[in-house]
């Protein structure tokens, strides 16, 4: 039986203890699917993912919440394309956009469900300017700080990141 490893990180304001992706879903009303699609894992296609998600949620969220979601989705898609699917265009990433109790939930899945990579350092600008860290490595940091919740799950084959944003002023 495949081992399902779960880690959950909540961002911006608070931290949620990992249960399982299902545990989060079971506490909420059923999520309704707004759209789902696949894109080839080609560098630059994160913009396509971002644009399609924006089109799907334009009636639901706007302003700064939308801008935060755009950044998080683009970064997550870029990670899925480059790291999860190794930029292999024949392997698509899949995207689901769901309505989530007044907010928006976006799930991005790639084939990077294998053993976890070495945990990267939290990006520190001073360290980077001093040459102690690579200048890059801001992607996951941005995602964590742009969304209200972030959940990661993997099952040996697939890796899914789930991003949740809620309009400002909602729980």
């Amino acid at each position: 039986m495949a081992t399902i490893g779960r880690e959950t990180v909540c961002t911006r304001a608070h931290v949620a203890v990992a249960g399982s992706l299902d545990a989060y879903s079971s506490d909420a009303k059923e999520h309704s699917l707004i759209t789902e699609f696949e894109v080839p894992s080609e560098m630059g296609n994160e913009r396509l993912v971002m644009d399609r998600v924006v089109n799907a949620v334009a009636d639901s969220i706007s302003g700064e919440t939308l801008e935060r979601l755009k950044t998080a989705v683009a970064e997550a898609a870029m990670n899925a394309i480059e790291h999860g699917n190794k930029g292999r265009s024949e392997i698509p990433i899949s995207v689901q956009v769901l309505d989530s109790d007044g907010g928006i939930r976006v799930r991005i899945t790639d084939r990077g469900g294998g053993p976890a990579q070495t945990e990267t350092d939290t990006p520190d600008l001073e360290a980077k300017l001093a040459g102690l860290q690579d200048p890059r490595g801001w992607g996951l940091f941005l995602i964590k700080n742009m969304v209200d919740e972030m959940h990661i799950s993997k099952d040996g084959e697939f890796h899914t990141i789930e991003l949740v944003v809620r309009p400002e002023g909602t729980a």
């Binding site: 870029m78 300017l129 200048p135 801001w138 941005l142």
Partner: protein, 120 residues
């Protein structure tokens, strides 16, 4: 390799200050373009570089990494980097990454030049 959607123009305001106008998308793919612009913008007496983001359409973590690389080079040359034209969202990102501590953020070029002590 994705098609580049960026253009950068260099304007030398004085012997001591230059502006790099960044138009389009700032991503990791822009490295050569940005570093070429920096080379053009830098002279023997250059001590202030202003990055004009008024026509920036999109910036991702790769673009932020490039700005860090640029800061490393500018710091080596004892040049001060400033940014103008950032919208609210990207100002927030600058604050999150603390780029706002490493470079000055201004509302206009004239403010940026004044902040750097440059008279034109």
């Amino acid at each position: 390799m994705p098609e580049l959607s960026v253009s950068m123009e260099v304007r030398k305001v004085s012997d001591e200050a230059s502006v790099i106008d960044i138009k389009g998308d700032l991503t990791a793919a822009c490295e050569d373009v940005l570093m070429d612009a920096y080379s053009q913008a830098t002279g023997d007496r250059t001590r202030a570089l202003i990055l004009n983001f008024n026509e920036l359409e999109y910036m991702n973590s790769g673009g932020i990494g490039l700005l860090v690389t640029l800061l490393v080079r500018a710091n080596r040359q004892k040049q001060r980097l400033s940014a103008v034209g950032l919208n609210d969202h990207y100002q927030q990102i600058f604050e999150l990454t603390r780029l706002n501590e490493a470079m000055d953020i201004h509302d206009s070029e004239s403010e940026a030049l004044a902040g750097a002590g440059i008279t034109t």
